[in-house]
Each structure stands twice: as C-alpha cells, then as structure tokens.
Amino acid sequence: MSIASDTITEKSGYKLHVVQTDKYKTNTLVLKMKAPLTKEDVTYRALLPYVLQSNTSKYPTTPELRSYLDDLYGAGFYVDVAKKGEYQIISFTIDIVNEKFLSDSTPLLEKAFGLLSEVIFNPKKNGEAFDAKTVSNEIRSLKQRIQSISDDKMRYSATRLVEEMCKNEPYALEASGNLQDLETMTPESLYAYYKKVLTEDEIDLYVIGDIDESEVGALADKYVSLQERVPVRLSRKPGKEVEKEKEIIENSDVKQGKLNIGYRTQVAYGDPDYYALQLFNGIFGGFSHSKLFINVREKASLAYYAASRLESHKGLLMVMAGIENANYKQALDIIHAQMKEMKQGNFSEEELAQTKAVVKNQLLETIDVSRGLVEILYHNVVSGQDISLDDWFAKTERTTKEEIIAVGQKIQLDTIYFLTEAEVQG
C-alpha cells in the first residue's frame, strides 16, 4: 500500500494533483507558481501575491474579501513566497471546512475554487495596471517585512550566511525581495509582470481532503483556465566547488552570539546519494540525539540550540548555534571535530538505526498535515523527479554506513559566519 501519493492530471497550462483522504475536517487547495530566482524578478514575485490577496474586482476592499471568507466558515487564505534551490515559489493556500461537519450544507469546496479563481484571474485593476492604492499599501507593508528580517537576529544571521556564502549565485537573493527594487515598482510594471507569471510560470494545483476525484477535476476545469506553456527548467549542474573557506565576523548589539556555518554537499534531492546525505545530517546535527546537540549543548553546556539542516535543492548543509560571545573558538572547535568524526565514520550502527527511525517518523508526521504533505510532494516538481514516498522510505532504510561515509567525503566547509557583540580574540 502506498503511504500517500497524489494522482496527477495534466491540465491545460498546469498540473492538477489530487490526494483523497478522510483524516481532515477541512479541504485544502494549494496553488504553486514556480520560476527561476532572478535578480530582475525577485521583488516582483515577493510583492505580487500580497497585492492579489488584498482584494479582487468582485471584492474590491480587503474587508469585503475577508468578510466573504468569514462567511465561508472562516476559510483560511494565505499567501507565501519561498525559495527552493534556485527557484522562487509563490503559493496560495485555501483551507476550508468540509461541509459534512456543519449543520449547514453549502458546497464549500466549489466556493473555495471560485475564490481562488477570483483572486488569481480577476484582480482589482485599472486598465493594464493594478489598483494604485493597493500596490502602494503592499509596497509599504513589504518594506516593513523586509526590514523586520534584521530585527530577528537568528533569522538575520542565517540570511547573512547565505548572502556571503552564495555571493554571485541566484541563491543569495532573499525570497522577500529587496528595498532598492521596491522603489521602482509601479502598478503598471507589476501588472505586466503578473501577465508574464500567468503565461510562463510552472503551475501546480494541489487539492487534498475527503473529496471526489472526478468532481475536483470538473471544478478545476470550470475555474482554472491557463494557456499551455513550456516552463523554464534550470539544468542540474553540479554544485560549486569551494575555492577558499571564508570566515566572517560581524559586530552587532546582541546578548547571544549567533554562529552559522555553511557547507557545500554537491548532492541534491533526487540524487542517488541524497538519502545518505539526509542521514548524515541527522546523525550530525538534525535531532536531539545528534552529535551537535550532545557535544555542544549537553556535554560542553555551551548552547541552548546547536543544530544542522539541509537545503535539499541547493545541496547545502547549514549549522546554527546560539552561544556566549566569548565561546566562539571553543564552539567552533567542537563543531569541526564532530564533522571530522562524521567523515571518518565514527558513528555507531545504533546511531544510524536511531536516525533512520527518527527520519522516517518525521516524514510520516509531516504528511499528517495537509500543507506538509503538499511540501513533500512538491519536491518532485522542483527537482523534476518522480520519487514516491514508499521509495523514499525504502531507500532510506537500505542506506549503509559506507554510503554515509562516502557522501561525507563530498562535504566541504565553505563559510563561517558569526554575529557577535564584542571583538573576537584570535
């Protein structure tokens, strides 16, 4: 039996993914629009979904649009912009109660399709431009959001590491866009960009819930109509080799120093050794039984958090830890030592078995949440692969210690970034 899979139908201009399940009390629609991350477009893409979610031509003010959502039993409606590898992805999500849990039996799924369609295809506009007031409000709001990134020091230091590490690569761009470009946005230029998105982006629509597949197909045909297109796919090039390790120390007014370290792995989702990399990360720093947690936190008592994570589509492994400013060298030494242990295969079969169990547990938990399931299924779209969850589990299970040591040989330290209050003693 398959663990969870989507039935995919090619529609005109997009793919429809349907997952039938009776475990939720809601039905969820997620529309994803994907295009390469570029300097020219990044800020347009960051702004566009927020303008679209503000109002539509049928619901010309936010209170009118939001009142309609409230009337649909508080349907949840969110937009989001993220990067996955070197793509920038816009998501629209509607989460709506399945009417069988209500005394009122209005067909809510169809209303959700209608609303999604209204938001995407029928914005409030003025000729070939978005409504000027809406655009200026959203520019101001995005500006504040961009500025607030630096107010959260954990997030700021993670962002700065990527900026420094991936200089001159698209991945250095922040998915929320930048202030300079924001100054140049106009209702006309954003509208022109919107037209481009509708004709060129790779678009996927996910529908999840206790639903009938053929009914969903018919609703999709009725409400979502797009032109055929050949989406831009980035070629899968091998990751960049590290020429020279970088160490960047930045001073700021922080009580706790934020240490972030980036490694290049040369391995991405869909590569045969991706499963081994995922387990490598798990043993190294992904969980509370991992080497980083045990050695930096539990043994040396240096940190509250010390962990690592993968950026699966770009092939990066990132470490983050919050430490006393004065403990920089000590923390760094411990982290380097753990990486060395990993590369030399100094981890037990027991640690490996433990990590496999936890990785599997984490995946199963993620797909219990409908939006989590969409994120997992969407990996295939981003990477152009067709890996089922069953495959994913089977391959993780079969991975050997030798394969993990082998993938470790590909991992190279690239950049160390430290945000700290004081001068660091060399």
Binding site: D70, G74, D151, A357, D368
Partner: protein
C-alpha cells in the same frame, strides 16, 4: 472508563480517573500516522509561592524553577531521555507556561513503548548537584536568546506593565541571576509537591487501541504505589485592579518599531463554562474590532499604522487575564493613540453590530474545526481547558449562543483607562 461522543464533530473521547487521582483521556484518530501524548502537571511559572509537601509554612522559590525542573527531568543517571525516545523512533519535547508544565512525544511506531517511557521518565526524577550546575549554562543561553528577541521583550514588557505583584509578570525562564540560586534539593521539593498524579493529566491522541492503552496506563500506575496527597496550597499576593505602569519604551537594535497595548482584566476568578464564555466572548470582541474583515483594520492598514504582523489575543487563567493588541508599526505613537480611541469608542458599542457578530462566530467555528486537524492542538488545549474545569468540545455550542449583548458587556467590563498600558520597542 467513560465514553463521551461528539456527534457533529465525529469524535469520541474516553476518560478515566486512575486510583491515584491521575486524569487520563484518550482520543482515537484513525487515518493518522502519528500518535501523540502529553503528560502535564498543573504547575507553571506563576506557582512560586506555596506550601511544600508535608510543610506547614508557605515558601517562595527562585524565579524560573518550574522551567528549570522541566529541563532537568529529561536527565537520568544513565543518560538522557531524548536518546531513549529517538531510539524508539519518537521525538520528545516539553514546555513550561505560566500555569502548566507539559512533557510530550510523538511517534509513528512503537507507541506503547514510547508511552511507557513518557510516564516513567516524568515519574522518576533524578537530580544531582553536578547536572544542576551544568544546566545553568544551557538555560543561561536560552535566556540570552530570548533577550535578543524583540517580540518576546515586547510581550513580557507589556505584561510587566500591567502587574504589580502577580508572578505572571516574571519571565518563565527566570533570569541568569535567579537560576544561579537553584539547587537539587529545591528541585526535589517542587517535584514532590507538584508532580503527584492527582495534580496531573495524561492525554493520548492518535490511531491507538483505547482498551489496551487504558490498561497499560492503569497497570503502570498501580505498580508505582502512590500515596494520596492533599491538593497543593498556592499563595498569590493581592493584586490591584489598575496597571502598574502606563507606558514603557524599550530601546533595542531594531529597524521597525513595535507596539503592544495591554488591557488588564478584572474579576479573574471564574472557571468552567463561565470562564469559557468570558474567554470566547472577549476573543470575538477583539476579532470584531480588529479582524481583517473589520473596517477599522482597513483604516489602520491604509494609514500605514499596521502591517501583516498585527495581532490580538485574550487569555485568562486562574487569577490573571489580559488582552494584548499590537505589532510592527512605522508610526508607534499614532498607532497607540488609534488603538486607545477604538477601544474607548467600542465601550459605547461602536464597531459591535449583529451582522459582524454572526460573521465572526461563523469564522471562529470554522477555525476551531480546522484546529481539530491537529493532534497537538487537541492535546494541549484540552489539557489547558481541563485544568480550568472547561471542556474543549463545548467551544462550538458556547460560540453559537453568544449574543451582541454579551459582546457589548465585554467591552463595558474590560475597557478602562486605568487598566490599559502600552509597551513600545523603538530603535536605539
């Protein structure tokens, strides 16, 4: 074992009170991969003044000790329990709030073994001087991390403005100085006082077999030989109705200013249905004024006073209650003034009409149903409700009965100049 059926919601809840006083609830959820259990004691950061078990005098303990104890329970003589859980494919965690300390795990296999591990580790404390000292370094870093977080500082700044005496104004983790005083004996004293089964609740949710799970818990508890223990006596000093401070400005390394307005509630000794109604009505009131479908929200947004970070919430527990409203704002003083004005006018009914009430109730019912998708939400909220003698599954029926008079009543009771305060975080 008692079975409670919620027909409309298509849920069945099983309940049993064990002989030692432990309350156990099981909510079977088929179709899910994940099982989830929380083991919670009715003991949080505000419980710092109490009669220790077998003691006759009230004693006060250092700030942050409930949270410190939470950290330390994971450590045993032969290693830490995180390891044990991850060997069994589970992930474990814990949190301390003002009023509760919860231990939890989630797993997609080996449920019985993980549940046993959870119950056993919480009921088998091991504290040594050495590990207590070591923990001070880790928790010190946790405190520093929150100190750098402007949203957290704003939140606690606002609460500290409201309260003169009540320990809700103290940061849950305490301070680097206060935790320095904690010893292993103090931890045992707090443990023995608050971790008796009769002060605790176990909640299980997931694709589990009810009978065998209940039997496992029964057998586990029967083997442990707990003696009966009287209810804990806690002490809270008299708290004035008015706020302690009207305004506080914190200077931090931020680019965007932040504003939070706090309203201190009075008559905060309700429980059961009365508390549930008060809490829901107050949340509906705030939603009607400040929700995205309200014209007032639109005005604030159009004037550039708020952005997407704007939020509002009301919480009430035994002895304290407050509404918090705020977010990032380029114009912190203008936002402060506008919020005060809106709240004052609402006292006369402005913004509170029948149509908007009905819409908001619908919205709240929908979001409640949506949150039932989440086993974590069910377990955590159910426990919190139960400690206040409320039932999570009464939410829909209470919401359906709210009238516009109830909401206007809330505005009249809640809003008073003397009970409102503001905290701002401004760039240095």
């Amino acid at each position: 074992m008692e079975k409670i059926t919620f027909t409309q919601l298509k849920e069945e809840l099983f309940h049993e009170k064990m002989d030692n006083g432990l309350e156990v609830y099981i909510l079977p959820k088929s179709g899910f991969n994940k099982s989830f259990a929380t083991f919670t004691t009715n003991y949080g950061s505000i419980d710092n003044h109490f009669k220790p078990l077998n003691g006759t005098e009230f004693s006060k303990v250092p700030d942050g000790i409930a949270h410190f104890l939470e950290h330390k329970l994971f450590e045993k003589e032969d290693g830490d329990v995180f390891q044990q859980f991850s060997k069994q494919g589970a992930s474990a965690n814990a949190f301390t709030s003002f009023t509760r300390t919860a231990y939890l795990f989630s797993s997609t296999s080996d449920f019985d073994r993980n549940l046993t591990t959870l119950i056993d580790f919480v009921q088998d404390p091991y504290f040594s001087e050495k590990t207590v000292e070591k923990e001070k370094g880790i928790i010190g870093q946790e405190i520093n991390m929150y100190d750098d977080n402007s949203d957290w500082r704003l939140y606690f700044g606002t609460i500290a403005n409201m309260y003169h005496q009540h320990p809700v104004k103290i940061d849950i983790a305490g301070t680097v100085e206060s935790i320095a005083d904690i010893t292993k004996d103090m931890l045992y004293e707090c443990y023995n006082t608050f971790y008796h089964p009769s002060n605790m609740l176990l909640f299980v949710v997931g694709p589990v077999d009810v009978e065998s799970t209940m039997k496992l818990i029964r057998d586990n508890q029967n083997n442990k030989g707990y003696n009966e223990q009287p209810a804990v006596e806690r002490k809270f000093d008299e708290e004035p109705e008015v706020v302690a401070k009207d305004k506080e400005v914190l200077r931090m390394n931020v680019q965007t200013p932040k504003v939070m307005l706090g309203i201190k509630a009075i008559n905060v000794h309700q429980s059961g249905l009365e508390l549930l109604k008060r809490e829901l009505a107050t949340n509906i009131y705030l939603e009607m004024l400040f929700g995205k479908s309200s014209p007032l929200h639109e005005e604030l947004y159009e004037e550039g006073l708020i952005d997407q970070s704007f939020s509002y919430d009301y919480t009430q527990e035994q002895g304290f209650g407050f509404a918090l409203i705020g977010g990032d704002s380029a114009k912190p003083d203008e936002l402060t003034e506008s919020l005060f004005a809106i709240l004052q006018k609402s006292k006369a009914g402005t913004g509170l009409n029948e149509e908007s009430l009905q819409r908001t109730i619908k919205k709240k019912i929908g979001s409640f149903l949506r949150s039932l998708n989440s086993p974590e939400y069910i377990a955590n909220q159910f426990t919190r409700y139960a400690f206040n003698d409320m039932n999570l599954f009464d939410v829909v029926s209470v919401l359906e009965k709210l009238t516009i008079e109830d909401i206007r009543e809330v505005a009249k009771d809640l809003i008073s100049d003397q009970r409102m305060t503001v905290c701002q975080v401004l760039p240095k």
